[in-house]
Symmetry: C2
Subunit: 214 residues, 2 copies
C-alpha cells in the first residue's frame, strides 16, 4: 500500500473509532509512524483527507448502485442490495455523522455530493423500475416512482440522524445492528407496492431487521 | 414584552435571517439596544438562548400534536395539520439547520429532544389511528402504524437536511415554498393506505406541494 492510501485507510479507521473531531493530522501521522511533514506532503489538511474518503465512498456506492447486471431481480437481491447500502453507511459512518458540517467546509465536496445525490436518486428509480419488471413491485407511474425513490433516499440518509438524535446519553455508540434496522424502515416504504408473490418472502426477510419500537 | 422575551424573539429572528453562527450575543444586545451585561443577566450564553428557543418550539409542536379535539378528522384537517408542522419548521428553521450540533453542545437539550421525539412519535401514531377511525386511512396493525409514524417523522425532520445537502451553491437559501414541498413527500407515504373516498381529495390537495423533480 502506498503512503497516500495508508493515510486514507488509517484516517477512516481512526475517525470511525474515535470521532473525526478527536483525531488530528498529528494523531494520524503518529499512528502510521510517519512525520507530520510526510503526511502534509500528501494531504494539505484534514478536510483534504475527508474529501478523499468521500471519493472512495462515492465510488463504492456508485459501484453497487449501477443496477445489477441481472435482467430480473428477486426479493433476495433487493435485501442483499440494502445490506450493501447499510454496510457502506457503517464502514463510512463518521462521514454521515457530520456530513452537513463537511459540506459547509468544502465547496468541492458540496458540489460533488449534490451530483452524487442526483445520481443515487436516478439509480434508485432505475432499480425500482427493474423490481417492477421483475414482478417484485407492482407497476407504478413515473411520478410515483420518483417520489418513492426520494423517500427511500431520505429514509436511508436520515436513519443515522434519527439514531444520533435519539441515542440518548452522550457517548452512547450507534451499533451496527441498530444501524441495519434502517432496512426495516426502507422495506416498510415499499410494502404496499409489493406483488402478492413477493409479499410473504419480503415480510419474512424484513422481520430480522425489526427495530425496537415502544 | 419583558426583556427576557425580547431577547428570545430577537435572537430567533436574527438566527433565522443571518445564520446562528454569524450572530453573537453582542449582536443581539446591540440589536435590542441593551448592554451585553443586561443580556448576560438573563442568559449566560448563546446556547442558553437556543435552549429557550427550543422550549418554545417544543411547546408549539406539542400544542398542535395533541391530536385535535375533534372526534373525526378529514383529509383537509390533515393538510392543515401538516401545514402547521411545516410552518413550525420554517419559523424555527435555524434550529433545524444545526440541530445535531446543538444537541452535542447541550446535554439538557439532548435529553429533552429525545423525550420530545418519543412524544411526537406517539402523537403521530395517535393521529394516524384517528385518521383510520375517520375512514381517511385504511385500518392498520399496531406495528404497521408505528413504522408508518417513524417514517413520517424521518421524512419531516430529514426534508430540511435533504434540501440543505442538495441546495447547491453556498449561500443559496432554502425558500419557504421549497420547504413546504416536504408535505408532498409526507403525503406520498400514506397514499397506499388512503380509503377510496379520501384518495381523490388527497391527490388534489397534494398537487400544490409537488416538488420539482427531474
Amino acid at each position: 500500500m502506498k503512503t497516500r492510501e495508508k493515510i486514507v485507510f488509517a484516517s477512516l479507521e481512526l475517525f470511525n473509532e474515535k470521532g473525526e473531531r478527536n483525531v488530528s493530522t498529528n494523531h494520524i501521522a503518529a499512528h502510521l509512524g510517519i512525520s507530520p511533514g510526510n503526511l502534509y506532503y500528501h494531504y494539505r489538511n484534514k478536510i483534504d483527507i475527508i474529501y478523499e474518503i468521500f471519493l472512495q465512498y462515492q465510488s463504492l456506492v456508485d459501484g453497487y448502485m449501477e443496477a445489477p447486471s441481472k435482467q430480473f431481480l428477486t426479493v433476495e437481491d433487493q435485501f442483499l442490495f440494502l445490506e450493501a447500502v447499510f454496510e457502506g453507511l457503517w464502514e463510512f459512518r463518521f462521514l454521515h455523522r457530520d456530513l452537513e458540517h463537511y459540506l459547509e467546509s468544502d465547496p468541492r465536496l458540496q458540489k460533488d455530493y449534490q451530483c452524487f445525490t442526483q445520481r443515487c436518486l436516478d439509480n434508485i428509480s432505475r432499480i425500482i423500475g427493474k423490481l417492477e419488471d421483475s414482478s417484485v413491485l407492482l407497476p407504478m407511474s413515473h411520478q410515483l416512482r420518483r417520489s418513492f425513490a426520494l423517500n427511500t433516499w431520505i429514509i436511508i440518509t436520515g436513519w443515522m440522524s434519527y439514531l444520533k438524535m435519539t441515542a440518548g446519553c452522550e457517548g452512547q455508540r450507534i451499533s451496527k445492528d441498530r444501524l441495519r434496522q434502517g432496512i426495516y424502515q426502507v422495506i416498510h416504504l415499499e410494502m404496499p407496492y409489493l406483488t402478492p408473490e413477493a409479499l410473504q418472502r419480503t415480510l419474512r426477510l424484513q422481520e430480522s431487521f425489526k427495530p425496537i419500537l415502544q
